[in-house]
């Protein structure tokens, strides 16, 4: 089996170059976790703890977690990173671009594993995916490409869709790149983007009046901590005006949003934990290439579809991984 031989050769070469220390130690590893959003959500939740326990860690025996949440106020992030540095954590895991940026600026020598940052090269978090350099590695995103896919899915769901209002956090470079990718795809496919950049919760009111004045055919909500914090208002507006809307993560569809498409977040967080595991055991972030997501999730809420009078085509149902009825 020539294929098997080829795989064995490549794997053996990979393993030889990544030989890890085999020694066990009685050390207690300290893992910092920081996000811009609400406590107990995302990587601050139980899922991340499981990602470590399944790798052999035992909470409070050989691993301790230091959790920090900026609760929507990104100005707090640098201070939170300083707290983690003062707590002598061995590695910092971040979710979202603002937290990653604060970590890059304030974490000093402490290694950082960043996830859900948008395009980490375009936002200058790392030099390249293959050789990040510096003290940051993580799980990259194909997020800017997914913007195009999201628009295509909207179009397949509602073939008559032409104008799409895009809501995004205009202060977040990572999110702005996603809006720009949507613009590019819309031009290519003959759709029209209505840009509704927001900076603060009050801006949502302005965005809603804009949409009332010039009703779009659909909404695309670029998802970060600011838009997540205001998701209920967006969903309510969409419901009241019978507007189809696409988000980026399945939890928003469970919350009432119509559709979402994005990387499988549980898989991303698991990969982030895997990278942190290697780092605390001696690997250098500069040498650890960023990983790309390989699993994606398409979620649809049929209750919401019914509420806005939308019939979902069979081809879309076939593509859905998560259907809420």
């Amino acid at each position: 089996m020539a294929l098997l031989r080829r795989i064995v050769f490549l794997l053996a070469a990979l393993m030889a170059s990544h030989s890890e220390g085999l020694a066990q130690s009685g050390k207690v590893y300290r893992v910092g976790l920081v996000i811009a959003g609400a406590p107990d959500t995302g990587i601050l939740g139980a899922g991340m703890v499981n990602n470590f326990t399944k790798r052999g860690y035992v909470v409070d025996k050989n691993i301790v977690f230091e959790r920090r949440a900026a609760q929507g106020n990104v100005d707090r992030l640098p201070g939170l990173i300083d707290e983690l540095v003062a707590a002598h954590v061995d590695v910092i895991i971040t979710s979202g671009y603002p937290a990653a940026l604060a970590a890059k600026q304030r974490a000093g020598d402490i290694p950082v594993v960043a996830s859900q940052t948008g395009d980490p090269v375009a936002t200058h978090l790392v030099e390249s995916l293959a050789h990040p350099g510096g003290n940051i590695t993580g799980v990259s995103e194909v997020a800017t490409e997914l913007s195009a896919k999201r628009l295509a899915l909207l179009k397949e769901t509602i073939p008559t869709v032409h104008s799409v209002a895009v809501l995004w956090n205009a202060d977040d470079l990572g999110m702005t790149l996603r809006y720009q990718a949507a613009e590019a795809e819309a031009k290519r496919s003959g759709m029209l983007i209505v840009p509704l950049g927001v900076h603060a919760p009050d801006d949502f009111d302005t965005a809603f009046s804009e949409m009332t004045k010039n009703p779009p055919d659909a909404i695309m909500m670029v998802t970060d901590s600011l838009t997540i914090l205001n998701r209920k208002r967006v969903m309510q507006y969409a419901d009241e005006h019978r507007l189809p809307a696409i988000y980026e993560f399945a939890f928003l569809v469970h919350d009432g949003g119509l559709m979402s498409y994005g990387p499988d977040v549980d898989a991303v967080n698991d990969r982030a934990a895997g990278l942190a595991d290697r780092i605390v055991k001696g690997a250098k972030p500069a040498d650890l290439p960023l990983e790309l997501p390989t699993r994606f999730q398409f979620a649809i809420n049929l209750k919401t579809a019914k509420a806005i009078g939308l019939k979902i085509p069979e081809s879309i149902l076939l593509q859905a991984d998560d259907v809420i009825e």
Binding site: L11, A16, A130, A148, L151, S189, F296, Q319, D321
Partner: protein, 138 residues
């Protein structure tokens, strides 16, 4: 008396090092074989699923049906990120991707792609395993 001790110490250190390397190498080799077996099984499974999808050759007028077959395949096999269907002349007729918008009927001539040539002569063709900007092999 120092020199023989030094030589003894050095040769012990040398042989000790060689033994450790040998143990490490055989361990790594065993792990590589085990992992390779898992990858081969994984690929065999995908191959089986793919064969169902391309049982029927491309037929004009059956575009929807072909797309549905591919969507069903990708639903069953989350590991598949994209599928390209070419017709009897090696021309691309459908490109379904999880990452990019689907491309229907691009008519890109892929008759001379290694993948197409390989699949035609050997029925199945495996691309080179590459590391594409990430440690997970594509």
């Amino acid at each position: 008396m120092v020199v023989p001790l030094l030589v003894n110490g050095a040769s012990e250190a040398w042989f000790g090092y060689r033994d450790q390397r040998a143990t490490l190498n055989s361990r790594l080799h065993a792990e590589a074989i085990s992992a390779a077996g898992k990858i081969a099984a994984f690929l065999d499974d995908i191959t089986d699923q793919l064969q169902w999808t391309v049982q029927l050759p491309w037929r004009d007028g059956m575009e929807e049906r072909h797309r549905f077959d591919v969507l069903r395949l990708m639903h069953q096999v989350p590991a598949v990120v994209e599928v390209m269907l070419v017709d009897g002349d090696g021309v691309e007729r459908l490109h379904v991707s999880r990452v990019d918008p689907d491309v229907v009927d691009s008519r890109i001539d892929r008759a001379n792609d290694p993948a197409v040539l390989g699949a035609r002569s050997d029925r199945i063709w495996y691309g080179p395993v590459t590391l594409h900007e990430a440690p997970s092999p594509i």
